[in-house]
């Protein structure tokens, strides 16, 4: 009875297509002159309406100082702040916002709204005239979105209010600039390095002495990293990897990080073109190749690093500081240590890439003066920032706090601060993410999979060629 019912519904639904399908081919009707004229009129009408709609979105020539005139009288004190931090992490952000709401001197309250696809949502909100007042902004997106008019320029306000931006970590502030205009204030610093599962290291070393060639130390150089990766990988009798020493799947995303460990560059930011030193680029790709070609294999594809790390099936992986929180949510007792990406063989220095959030005001926000007041206060107020640091486990971008006891005594933050002078943000050029996705990742994939007779030299040449074209498209 059940199947008969479904079947009848389906046949009834699709029968019109089938029974009348002969009429699909009867184009004569559609080709009549009258029909043609009707279609033409409809098309013309659509074109006129379309132009009218597009004409509504003209340039806003209002001066920034006219928008941010300091007159808060008519503005709401209940501000909405968007961010892309979802799930349980969003609760942490809400808790930090509640602290800001309860303690700021302006009586402003912040409501955090997590959104997926920040750019799309902002564009839709702009068209609907319902933008948030502030955005907890992923700083690497600034170079792509700022030139397209998503954000208010704030440098004139900084100048007007005599704000000292030297209190911010310079690289984080630089990431919020485009063409020397400033679009936001940095909140935190999110260094990416390598997490080491110390339990697995200690277990491996249990029966070894430091003089033993198989002994593993926390790596500080590429050679030590490779040695640890090989030693900590376990295989079953069939040769399948049962425990992974180093998450090699993430290597392609760390190409720039490894260049940084030799003081190398990837993009010439002034001209927006790829700028990889041949010797250093070759060294990185050959190092990757050593992992890819190791026999027996050092990894399997498709592992979930959080699960594997928490389950003691992964000894080392790339990750941000908050990786610790994610892992400990699944295995609270795990012993793990964060290290910078180990120093390279040429001009070696331990380094890494940093990301993080800033506060920005989307162009067209309804309460800009209150938004500016609260973001100034928050990024300067010691207690508010330390509360955020404490709740969200992030290093504050305000460097004046790095001397505070709570940061100095924090084992993770203090170790990062010791090496942070070598860390860099991603290149601040429009389309950098596209460059990685279209030029770096597929090329390194090809090298890994030995596709298209890919060699290290060819891969480097392809990254440059495709990369330059990708960046050129974004510059147009």
């Amino acid at each position: 009875m059940y199947f008969k019912c479904i079947d009848n519904i389906l046949l009834l639904y699709y029968n019109p297509f089938v029974i009348d399908s002969a009429s699909i081919c009867q184009y004569e009707k559609f080709c009549s002159w009258r029909m043609f004229m009707k279609k033409l009129t409809l098309l013309f009408l659509s074109f006129v309406i379309a132009l009218a709609i597009l004409g509504c979105g003209g340039d806003d020539d209002t001066s920034i100082l006219d928008v941010f005139d300091g007159n808060n009288g008519n503005e709401s004190t209940n501000l909405v702040i968007w961010g892309e931090v979802p799930g349980t992490d969003a609760d942490d952000i809400r808790e930090a916002m509640a602290f800001v709401s309860d303690n700021n001197p302006y009586g402003i309250s912040l409501e955090y709204v997590p959104v997926q696809g920040l750019g799309v949502r902002l564009a839709a909100a702009r068209l609907a005239g319902d933008l948030p007042d502030l955005v907890l902004w992923p700083r690497p997106d600034t170079a792509t979105y700022a030139p397209k008019g998503f954000l208010y320029e704030l440098h004139e306000l900084v100048e007007r209010d005599g704000m000292n931006t030297d209190i911010f970590y310079a690289e984080a502030l630089r990431e919020l600039k485009h063409d020397s205009a400033l679009y936001g204030l940095p909140v935190d610093i999110d260094p990416w390095g390598i997490w080491v599962n110390m339990g697995m290291v200690e277990s491996h070393n249990a029966d070894l002495t430091p003089s033993d060639p198989d002994y593993v130390t926390v790596p500080t150089t590429w050679d030590e990293l490779y040695h640890a990766a090989v030693q900590l990988t376990r295989h079953d009798q069939s040769g399948n990897v049962t425990a992974t020493g180093f998450n090699i799947n993430a290597l392609r995303g760390a190409f720039y990080s490894f260049l940084l460990t030799m003081g190398g560059e990837i993009i010439d930011e002034n001209n927006g073109v790829v700028n990889i030193d041949d010797t250093k680029g070759t060294a990185v790709l050959e190092f990757f190749n050593d992992f890819y070609r190791h026999d027996p294999p050092l990894y399997t594809r498709g592992i979930d690093p959080i699960d594997a790390f928490a389950g003691n099936r992964l000894a080392m992986t790339f990750g941000p500081l908050y990786f610790e929180r994610q892992v400990k949510a699944r295995n609270a007792s795990i012993d793990m240590q964060f290290i910078s990406v180990p120093a390279g063989p040429i001009d070696g220095v331990q380094s890494g890439v940093i990301g993080g959030y800033g506060l920005v005001i989307p162009r067209g926000a309804k309460n800009p003066n209150n938004a500016w007041d609260i973001m100034q206060w928050w990024t300067n107020d010691q207690e508010a920032l330390l509360a955020y640091t404490d709740i969200y486990s992030a290093l504050p971008a305000n460097i004046t706090l790095w001397e505070s006891d709570s940061i100095k005594n924090h084992p993770l933050f203090s170790s990062v601060i010791d090496e942070i002078e070598h860390y860099r943000v991603r290149p601040v050029v429009p389309g950098y993410i596209n460059f990685e996705v279209q030029a770096v990742f597929p090329t390194i994939d090809k090298l890994e999979l030995e596709m298209d007779n890919m060699t290290v030299a060819k891969a480097l040449e392809e990254i440059k060629r495709i990369g330059d074209r990708t960046l050129a498209l974004e510059r147009e």
Binding site: I19, A123, G149, F441, D445, L473, E476
Partner: protein, 298 residues
């Protein structure tokens, strides 16, 4: 009085009611189809990032697509693999299964079972297929191991460029076959019995019956199925987004995936519109080819 005069006499003087009845459909068509198409064509000649007004740049976007863009043409090569697998498979398998189910008592059960995957969300189904495609723990490779395949010979499914697009096609077939089986079943049922009986009386073999009677009578349905599958195939996006994000090595990067990235990640709306217009033209060309292939020459 001839028939034309009768028709003229019966025609109402005013068509107002008719216009009112079709107004919602026309409005819907204008707002959600006609205007967006016209806007997209217009935007394809502009540089537009949503927050600022579009700036006219003539053919620059089109020139860049063919002279600078390193991946758009590659994405057509990628999706061609998918089209080459999915379109003939859908037509052949759906037609054969529908033919086999015809006149079976349990046909309703099978049709419903085949149709069930189409009711699932693609994203949810992709999550399950991702697990099945896992090279180490996935169901597919576990089965192949049970069948005696050596570990080193097991396919890497979505994790290797040589099998990634075929794997996506496999999942898509699982999802869309049911719909097309139902469509073909309805068409097979609609074939006049007297035609089949006449052929049987004339001594036509099963093969002759299928190729000379059934297949030609199913041509309009084949045209419909083929056209819709071609359009759907060129618009491949959801599975890519959920399973591979265009990788590995860019082997599953499709035109719509790139269009989405350009439009909603980079907010190069003008450039994405130009890519959409080119995709539109390609789909039109393939649809016309499909029309020629299934044209009734009898």
């Amino acid at each position: 009085m001839n028939h034309q005069n009768v028709a003229k006499m019966k025609r109402p003087k005013s068509n107002k009611a008719g216009y009112i009845f079709i107004a919602p459909a026309v409005l819907f068509f204008l707002v959600f189809t006609a205007i967006p198409i016209v806007v997209a064509v217009y935007l394809s000649f502009t540089r537009y990032g949503v927050f600022d007004a579009p700036r006219w740049i003539g053919l620059r976007n089109y020139i860049n697509i063919f002279t600078v863009d390193p991946v758009f043409l590659q994405s057509f090569r990628n999706v061609s693999v998918y089209v080459a697998i999915v379109v003939p498979s859908v037509v052949l398998i759906s037609m054969v299964v529908a033919f086999m189910l015809n006149n079976r008592k349990d046909a309703k059960v099978f049709r419903s079972i085949y149709y069930l995957p189409a009711l699932l969300s693609i994203i949810a189904a992709s999550a399950v297929w991702r697990f099945m495609f896992d090279p180490t723990y996935g169901t597919l490779n576990q089965i192949l191991r049970l069948l005696g395949m050596q570990s080193q010979n097991l396919p890497q499914w979505i994790y290797h460029p040589s099998t990634a697009m075929a794997s996506i096609a496999l999942m898509s077939l699982w999802m869309i076959l049911g719909i097309n089986i139902v469509i073909y079943s309805a068409a097979v049922r609609g074939i006049p019995k007297e035609v089949v009986e006449a052929a049987e009386i004339d001594g036509a073999s099963s093969m002759n019956m299928f190729w000379r009677i059934i297949f030609p009578l199913l041509r309009p349905t084949t045209f419909f199925v083929m056209t819709m599958t071609i359009i759907g195939s060129f618009q491949l996006y959801d599975q890519i987004y959920a399973l591979t994000s265009g990788g590995p090595a860019g082997s599953t990067t499709t035109p719509v995936f790139l269009i989405y990235m350009n439009a909603f990640d980079s907010f190069n709306m003008g450039y994405a519109s130009a890519q959409s217009v080119i995709l539109f033209i390609v789909i039109i060309v393939f649809t016309l080819l499909s029309q020629r292939l299934t044209r009734d020459d009898y």
